[in-house]
Symmetry: none
Subunit: 199 residues, 4 copies
């Protein structure tokens, strides 16, 4: 018997709920200290049900990394690497990036954990790394054009891109925890400096 549309919707909703609670718990307590029981409890369902939606704990963690990455990644990549005015694009982009990062306090914790144990979280590290490559490449084009146009100093393009990613990633390490934009805005000029703006 096929499931009704309502049931489908309800299941989708439940899946989202599990994912959301799992993200929170994984971020705060880490992979091992987050038990399936805790996730189920937070999601208001029985722990057996978690296995209806995710084949294993590993799978759940993977989903927890992957699905938001798709959204976040898309947003981080939504800039024009062929913009007429690279410098202007960079300025806009840093602003957007810093804002985005500041709004993902929980999620970025997960990244840290994966990045801190790449051997252990192989699959997760893989997709993160893949995104990093993409990001690096696209940024590279923009940076290169900026340098060619004389807007940016001549620096090793890849190194700049990596440095910028490090910068973004590291922002979350600060103890400045609230997402009050005013604080985060201070980092925008710093981020822009990384690209080596002339004058």
């Amino acid at each position: 018997m096929a499931l009704s549309e309502d049931q489908m919707k309800a299941m989708h909703k439940k899946r989202e709920k599990i994912l959301q609670e799992a993200t929170m718990l994984f971020a705060v307590h880490g992979y091992n200290d987050t038990t399936i029981a805790k996730v189920a409890n937070a999601a208001g369902i029985s722990f057996g049900s978690v296995f209806t939606y995710f084949a294993s704990k590993e799978e759940l963690f993977y989903a927890t990394i992957k699905e938001p990455l798709e959204k976040l990644g898309e947003e981080l990549l939504s800039f024009d690497s062929n913009a007429v005015n690279p410098m202007k694009e960079i300025e806009a982009l840093v602003q957007k990036h810093v804002l985005l990062i500041s709004q993902q306090p929980v999620y970025l914790r997960l990244f840290q954990q994966v990045l801190g144990q790449p051997e252990r979280f192989k699959r997760e590290f893989e997709i993160l790394n893949q995104f990093f490559q993409l990001f690096q490449n696209k940024m590279g084009i923009l940076i290169k054009r900026g340098q060619e146009l004389g807007q940016l100093r001549i620096l090793h393009v890849e190194a700049v891109a990596i440095s910028y990613l490090s910068f973004l990633n590291g922002l979350r390490l600060t103890t400045i925890d609230g997402p009050e934009h005013d604080v985060w805005k201070l980092f925008v000029p710093c981020g822009i400096q990384l690209f080596g703006p002339v004058e």
Copy 2:
């Protein structure tokens, strides 16, 4: 009868060996997947002996973070915040920092893990954070002076310091793993840019 000098030395050596192997294992497999048995095995002793040197797994992990931090921290902080020529000092310092960081591939992994789970690794996070504060403050003085002398653009001092720390910390996130200095040197100019050098 107290222990002989030779025995004391042997014990110290054994302790160091445990610490070293534990660092490696923690870095590669993470806290939970590193069992005391594995550490003991790697160190070539019985697992019971680990407890002769470290009261618990937690304690071992803590030592693994703390003791190297003292050395590394000292090196990172060994610059003159009142240098006559702040810009020159910064250039030298970035070079040294990037080199140091590039030589600590294993150890920095541990940092990531702690930073990714500050609630779980409270004590460890605490001392890391403490060092961050120190570093930030000392850097702040140097940056401020650079700005006052017109060598650096006017940027929010604290934000620059934090950005620089993020940059350093994040370098390890790249997949460029070998400590071949030539690669790492590319990041030096990027790091310097962060401070907003005039001209």
Copy 3:
């Protein structure tokens, strides 16, 4: 979906089985030499299941003391402290008590262990002691009335009650192990003597 009635019953039965086997093992081998594995094995379940029914070994031991105490205690206390003829009541009561005690060879061993280590088995000692107080008090009333009516010699009421408890408790220390009533009956007159019957 809640558990079916049958399941509930089965679980209750299993819990009882664990409790029973644990009691036996604790009594024979003591707390420390009784491993959860042995209990599970004796109960015919996996050791993991023991934790489904009892949160910890301590908890299991506690239940092992508490639950039977409630039953046994009620029986030991089921006498009329305001009986018209205290002496008769005492005679009946000693008979009943000695019989009861003779039927609890296993369980009383647990008492000994708790009484032998009150600091270690604090909670268990507490409830035992509480029962002792109750028993002592109720016995006290009966004894006092017996003395007032001239049926019993004048002795320190509390001391008599305590002595009687000691007597009951100590019976189990004898090597006469079978619950053949004929042997146990011999102790009834001795118990009665403790109250100081006149004539």
Copy 4:
């Protein structure tokens, strides 16, 4: 090389010290929770030395039971089972026994533990039991003579002896903990009652 007299003395003293501290610890915390390290610590020596004096923990516990039993037993047995006036002898003996028992709060705890786990502490139980037999027999003679002389009611001799032992043993179960003799004296008449004194 033979040990000097002084050394012998010192060793004997040390052995006594260990035994004393072990008795205390075993009594309060039980066999398993009393570690050799704790005993050594309490005795002010290194734990390795404990094994110089006692072959194993079991042996130490055994000594802890056996040696005091010899002294205590002798005192408890120092009465004249052929006394001209059995009743008088019994009165004196109960007084002495109750006093003795009241002065052994720590040691009697050990008895309880052994009696609560006879299978586990086989050897210890054996010697305790052996003493019980001796005591029972000697008491039996006295009781029998008392009954023949018409001083005591006719009761099952063995049962009386066992009851009396139970009574003595159980006294320690009361919460009256101080060795203030006045309290303990109250139990003397109760003990005497057990023998069924005529009139």
